[in-house]
Symmetry: D2
Subunit: 388 residues, 4 copies
Amino acid sequence: MTGYQRPIRWGMVGGGKQGFIGAVHRIAARIDNHFVLAAGSFSSKAERNLESAAELGIDPARTYASFTEMAQAEARRDDGIEAVSITTPNHLHYPIAKAFLEEGIHVICEKPVTATLAEAQALARIVAASGRLFILTHNYSGYPLVRHAREMIAAGAIGDIRVVQVEYAQDWLTEPVERSGSSGAAWRTDPSRSGAGGAIGDIGTHAFHLAGFVTGMKPISLLAELTSFVEGRALDDNASILLRYANGASGHLWASQVAVGNENALRLRVYGTKGGIEWYQEEPNKLGHTPFGQPKNLITRGSAVAGPAAIRTTRLPAGHPEGYLEAFATIYTEAALAIRARQSDATQLPAAAYPSISDGVQGLEFIEASIASSKANGQWVSLSSITL
Amino acid sequence: MTGYQRPIRWGMVGGGKQGFIGAVHRIAARIDNHFVLAAGSFSSKAERNLESAAELGIDPARTYASFTEMAQAEARRDDGIEAVSITTPNHLHYPIAKAFLEEGIHVICEKPVTATLAEAQALARIVAASGRLFILTHNYSGYPLVRHAREMIAAGAIGDIRVVQVEYAQDWLTEPVERSGSSGAAWRTDPSRSGAGGAIGDIGTHAFHLAGFVTGMKPISLLAELTSFVEGRALDDNASILLRYANGASGHLWASQVAVGNENALRLRVYGTKGGIEWYQEEPNKLGHTPFGQPKNLITRGSAVAGPAAIRTTRLPAGHPEGYLEAFATIYTEAALAIRARQSDATQLPAAAYPSISDGVQGLEFIEASIASSKANGQWVSLSSITL
Amino acid sequence: MTGYQRPIRWGMVGGGKQGFIGAVHRIAARIDNHFVLAAGSFSSKAERNLESAAELGIDPARTYASFTEMAQAEARRDDGIEAVSITTPNHLHYPIAKAFLEEGIHVICEKPVTATLAEAQALARIVAASGRLFILTHNYSGYPLVRHAREMIAAGAIGDIRVVQVEYAQDWLTEPVERSGSSGAAWRTDPSRSGAGGAIGDIGTHAFHLAGFVTGMKPISLLAELTSFVEGRALDDNASILLRYANGASGHLWASQVAVGNENALRLRVYGTKGGIEWYQEEPNKLGHTPFGQPKNLITRGSAVAGPAAIRTTRLPAGHPEGYLEAFATIYTEAALAIRARQSDATQLPAAAYPSISDGVQGLEFIEASIASSKANGQWVSLSSITL
Amino acid sequence: MTGYQRPIRWGMVGGGKQGFIGAVHRIAARIDNHFVLAAGSFSSKAERNLESAAELGIDPARTYASFTEMAQAEARRDDGIEAVSITTPNHLHYPIAKAFLEEGIHVICEKPVTATLAEAQALARIVAASGRLFILTHNYSGYPLVRHAREMIAAGAIGDIRVVQVEYAQDWLTEPVERSGSSGAAWRTDPSRSGAGGAIGDIGTHAFHLAGFVTGMKPISLLAELTSFVEGRALDDNASILLRYANGASGHLWASQVAVGNENALRLRVYGTKGGIEWYQEEPNKLGHTPFGQPKNLITRGSAVAGPAAIRTTRLPAGHPEGYLEAFATIYTEAALAIRARQSDATQLPAAAYPSISDGVQGLEFIEASIASSKANGQWVSLSSITL
């Protein structure tokens, strides 16, 4: 890389003082220094919005009461934001994204991409028409060893894939905290704000994306058992889903927010004709790889065997742990590279550098197919038929 | 314990020179010194039978060409065997067990208990009529921390169970070794000798039993996806099975013999309203327990917190690993205690000291229901309806 | 925290394009947004200095060929830097720190603090006279669970300390890479740039600091065996050091850069009359704590049991790994808080919020005592006598 | 192996009802079926001796009040024991071993071999004169992967050894349990029964032997810091010892019985010019091996990469954990093979099949040198000079 690159002017919708995800986005955006926060509409509550903006040093003139106003006003400014991040509850993703894209502003958006598949499909059309970029923050795909696993599998390191085991277990919704003050729990368990998926939307989509990202394969159909264990909870807090792939591979996806002892236990295991790989988000700096008949290798981030995809996304030498924020920052950095490439038409990005709107649509297909299957007492539901 | 106890006179059917499981039974029987091997029919091949007997120091007069002959001859001897172990391929379990039980000889038998559910049910009636004991070697239930987990859960340590995740992954059938000289692979992949289940019979039944043993719950229905990944293999080598429990709990069982990098990876995780437990067979001397909201505890075998069920089955202080053979030996020791208790009517055994014929019947229900479900493209199949 | 806080104007000496530590400092300074890079002298090589500054977007007018010029020029500016970071080879720390402190600029400095104990002691006097802050980047003390361990021990969680085992093992100097193009290896193995310590200076001082930080105790004497395994290497690449503490505790510190298979394996174990704690830098988000007679607890960063010191330095919920950069950022953030407190006299900082010049002096005592002991064929050398 | 082999007639001195080590020896002797217990003097307390013998089914005529009587009486019998195991407190090893060897009976003996180096050297002469075998139960050398590590290192897998880190940590003597009823603690902390070494004798000798066994190197000198942390304890309960090897390698040995949270934490790490290996007794079925510049391999017991030394001592397939008792049984089996080879002059045993009297002498050299060094405030003490 040569020469200084001006940070991209950037705004946020959502991500105010409370909740942790807004701060995560801001740190992620700062780590590699590609963005400067210049505008925001941080909360639908006016006071909290102003307080948040003040703490963040945002010019009051660029602190907006509504996202509509923000999109229009920023689009009119010579120094208006070039990109916006959306970190609101799910049901607002669609109108906000639409507003900014239609004003010509690139969008970085939390997952699941929208509240419904229909919205996701509509958004895909809007993105296509806008000529702007849409980056979905499936941040776990930013881990260097996740990228390395993808690269290994694409190169045939484990042969033809037979079995995919992916799981994402948490325990923070074990008790009905949505009724005792957790605002994050409250909106995630409320269908009007979260959409039709509970655990499958909030974390299941991450697991679904991760498996697809690493294997390079999407299931053709699924069969789901969704459960709400906490009395009175309207959305699923546990999901167990069988997956079928076009090549005959068999998969299982488990997402739970009531699995006591699991904090953020996203784990992927893929087995093929020639080998197996295993990766665990809570220990993200190592990747297990077993060539059939040989000992398991522990591949470490930053080590001599890391390939181009890992090296591209690695900041530190081996043994110096990178974590969640660095993986998240990689999504932001890929976004920045893509935005600049779009602005200059100069740079060729690697495939799958960042999750896109099509990943978002697939995530909503996954959610809606899972719900349909579960309601039908466990019927196999085709994923492609839902898309159409 | 007081006074010397004469070892029980004991014989074997199967378990000759080749294959590892015969030697496992003999070591298991010796570890606590409750059995003395006195007779056998070690192989259906005459020469191998004689060689095996000679190596084991068995009196040629008590080396039998057939199990029928053995059962009858031993029953007639004043010093005849009191118990027999059956370690043949599955299809022979039923006739052999029947022969010995009907001669009044206690039976220790490998799993799955028979080749079909009908046989298992018939055998259950034979056991009941015989007044003799039937011990099924679901050896993993002999691990002290498995017993401790059962005891903890029964005492309410994790509250009401919500989620059960059990898996048993191996990789030794990744390639078609049944066609390149592995006799163990050959009969296990041959429906005429293994029964209708492949991986679900050979290892799935272990996983199913372990989950039931520890949770104290049996599923009421299941939904299965069985696959044979290796071309030309007649039986499943991968099974992914959803489980429903009467209390609303949701489970998943995965059994695979093509998961590269897994040697004998039996793993159980149970999550309830108040806590979670995790146990892994390859590191059997520790048990993870997380009370909700507290750090994970690593309970170790032999440590101060081990309860009566673990202490009863522990031979060594903490930090001195016990393994597979000791767990297996515990099944033999429980068998010996039960046989002596039956002989003397003197001792009260703890519940579930050893797996019994009813566990065997449930194992076959599991196999047949899984096959039925998978053939029906993943229908929920009631386990109790199958039993009747 | 209330209200926006203007980032501190900040510069760097060293940290140019090559080498990883300059980038680490910049990311660490950005993560919590307390610093803005405004000036620098990034390399003694003019061309590399200019290139680095250009890439970083530094005003050419504030890109300096020498640290002397930089200190003087920045001190004269109204918008001059308030703090500077020093990331050069060790032998330059002293003159650079002196130059900036004497111009009234706060200093953040890499370890070991100077090339000799005499310099460190002189620098301590300069710091005291300057009224400015001196922050030493013993970054491992920034990990939340390191802070939690310190807090637990101070509160008596493990009773009186008896045994301290600390080790820092790497393998990157296994072969003579200093002679095949690694500039980082070249200066670290060159006494004229690194000072008298090799592994003990570069990583041993980190281990020494960590043990002192967590236990709250400094050894009173030590006995060392230093070795240079790679032929022709002038400085130690392996050090094994016995430690004695005033309360009778016994310790051992091992530092190695030739321990194949260790990447950045800093590990601390402390045992007392009532319990033990264990922490490992490569898996920094968990802390083992065993109260005597009870199971080991795995305390996780961000979990409900984390105390104030951990909470203060934690950015993410449990299960979302923080890593090396976040721990490093915590040192920068503590520096910023301290600088602002010094500027405003308003805030009370917690004790040991950041490593200081006295830690630096102790580090050099450790280095020189170790060398003295090793040269004397393993004599116990008093640490306090060296200080005087 | 061909043909049945009559079990060796075998007796025990010590190993009565209380204490765990007697039972360990009996299980170890049974596992591979090479020994039959025929005689014993299980306790110096008459009543406990008789009770123990009765429980074990020993003929009262071969239950002896004293080892002297036992040695003489068994030597006179046509069916007298061929081998005896000594599991008494340390101070009795020498006279007992002497009595049996002089009667022509092979000896299997617990460690440390005697209470003093002088006794060990005298015993070595007695062994040589007797023409009988002396097997020392450094049982940890029986683990298959320990043997594999030895074989790998001998074959050059890690190049020339530079650094040896061996440690053996326990916590059961954290409190003065020797004064509250633990007979095992009482004699181990009593110099008149344990000899001059506390932790260094009881567990330090195991660590010392393991390091020597695996590396194939003995240190030429050592420097020790011994501590008794528990008030009133006469012997060391923590030892930290520097080691120097003839080839310039540097080592450290730590033994502790007050390290809270450690159960039986024997761990060996060896680093050479080309690689490193790591093994941990509490997870004995895996061995870490890192070739320099490549990922760490986890070699598992029973896997395809295990070499002849591991295969020879492995009973189970990979993933089926073997533990402490199996490793101990391997020592007994090697003893049986050696006894039969001696009886028949027919078999060639592998080198280092079992620990011998020379290992015992080296263990006492280690103990006495450590004590001498520690008393001299940490002087380097030559190991060879002590031997002479």
